[in-house]
């Protein structure tokens, strides 16, 4: 009998689970005090970084 492939949660499910544990609603951005602070290095070159360094604010 073939072993059943392991059911692995999707990336989206894993992100949702983390956000839930952190108390962030589906539509909620983090507030100060969330324990994972985001920081973008300056001038991290073109292309590969630019979609992260420029935000649609």
């Amino acid at each position: 009998m073939k072993a059943r492939p392991e059911l692995r949660p999707s990336i989206n499910d894993r992100i949702a689970r983390i956000r839930k544990r952190l108390g962030l609603r589906d539509d909620q951005a983090p507030k100060d005090g969330v324990p994972f602070r985001v920081f973008m290095p300056r001038s991290t070159s073109i292309g590969k970084a630019s979609n992260a360094t420029i935000k649609r604010s």
Binding site: R14, F36, F39, S43, T44, S45, I46, S50, A52
Partner: protein, 397 residues
């Protein structure tokens, strides 16, 4: 004649017009010349000393501001050659021309991505004066950096780059570093981590050595991707154990995608990727030719598309590119490639289609999905950060 977004042609999707886009990054190539000769460089004309004229620069800015595409902020990235190989006086004139546009001081952030070897006190004074952001390209300690980053006579450039870095630090100018990860890097995560922590820099972005443009092979090609994963994992664990002294771009992007996924969304709610949205990034070469999508496409020519130059600022407004036959084909393929990603990749929501240039140079078509680059630079960092957060939050399987 000026254009405005309201006069734009509709794209093929009835709901999608260029009105939904604003310009995030303007890459300007003051000259294709580079004073050094890294063996993995993708730039095709880096021995050419052609230089952008002030007329072309002024026209570029005129096209940008008349377009109505300028949003809250535009990053003007001076690159596609070594920007500091152009004399300081050129920038003094260029910046004064740019500052004559009413919105420029408020909207524009100037950025140099430099090899750092030509930095001197005058450059530091200029960087201070105009509040220019600067990133340096340093691959790690000398024996790694000098493996690929050499002068034309074959000498290493590490000492010169570090002299530039030191000068920035002495002048109180913060900077980030981009480090290319090549085959020689993969066995030395400790040395690379210790080196960058010791430098006291703001942060580092890792770029794997890519097959792109003039660089038609990568030293990473024979390496199993597992080695890249092990490298990234080791660096992450060293950083965590030390209390995260080093801000590493790939991990920070992944963390942001988890914690603050709304910071970078398009009007349709999907991840907004500058490289796959036409006109979100405009790339202008020293002759005024302009392109969009990945900056690495600027100046490249291929049998498939002939050219990625979709217009010239001297004769065309930015929206003219939508009428260019090559653009139509590229855009159709980029969109089809995005649809493939959306259907086939579980990382779609945290990526938005990655980099078209990597798709083209790795897979032979923009109409393709996963690449070595996205596996190493998007998927692996995301997996590592997810596993770390799950562990710290008690969410392990």
């Amino acid at each position: 004649m000026t254009s405005s977004p309201t006069a734009l042609p509709q794209f093929k999707s009835p709901t999608e017009t260029l009105e939904q886009v604003f310009l995030g990054v303007l890459v300007i190539q003051p000259s294709p010349f580079c004073n050094i000769n890294c063996d993995y460089c993708y730039l095709p004309h880096r021995t050419s000393k052609r230089r952008m004229t002030m007329e072309v620069l002024g026209k570029t800015m005129e096209r940008v501001f008349e377009s109505g595409l300028v949003g809250p902020q535009v990053q003007v990235l001076w690159h596609a050659g070594e920007p500091l190989a152009v004399p300081l006086g050129w920038y003094e004139e260029a910046f004064s021309i740019i500052d004559q546009f009413p919105q420029a001081k408020e909207k524009i952030v100037h950025t140099f991505q430099s090899n750092g070897t030509l930095l001197n006190q005058k450059w530091c004074d200029f960087i201070h004066k105009y509040d220019v952001e600067i990133g340096l390209s340093i691959d790690g300690p000398e024996f790694i950096h000098d493996h690929h980053r050499k002068t034309r006579s074959g000498r290493g450039t590490h000492a010169q780059a570090m002299r530039g870095a030191k000068l920035l630090q002495e002048n109180g100018i913060p900077f980030g570093v981009v480090a290319v990860i090549s085959d020689v890097s993969l066995d030395h995560p400790d040395e690379i981590f210790d080196f960058f922590v010791g430098m006291g820099i703001d942060g580092v972005g890792f770029n794997i050595e890519e097959v792109e443009g003039a660089n038609d092979s990568s030293s990473l090609a024979p390496s199993p991707e597992l080695r890249v994963r092990q490298f990234l994992q080791h660096v992450f664990e060293r950083n965590r154990a030390a209390g995260f002294p080093l801000k590493i771009r790939e991990f920070e992007i992944a963390r942001e995608s988890i914690i603050d996924p709304f910071s970078n969304r398009g009007s349709d709610g999907t991840y907004f990727n500058l490289e796959t949205n036409p006109l979100a990034m405009i790339n202008v070469d020293c002759d005024g030719n302009f392109s969009t999508f990945s900056p690495e496409l600027l100046g490249q020519s291929t049998a498939d598309y002939q050219t990625f130059n979709f217009g010239n600022v001297r004769t065309d407004n930015l929206f003219a590119l939508t009428q260019h036959p090559a653009f139509e084909q590229v855009y159709e393929d980029v969109r089809a490639g995005n649809q493939r990603c959306a259907k086939s990749c579980e990382f779609w929501n945290v990526c938005g289609g990655a980099s078209p240039s990597n798709k083209y140079y790795e897979n032979g078509s923009f109409n393709s999905a996963e690449t070595h680059h996205c596996r190493c630079m998007i998927q692996m960092p995301m997996e590592i950060v997810l596993e770390d957060m799950e562990s710290r939050l008690g969410l392990q399987k």
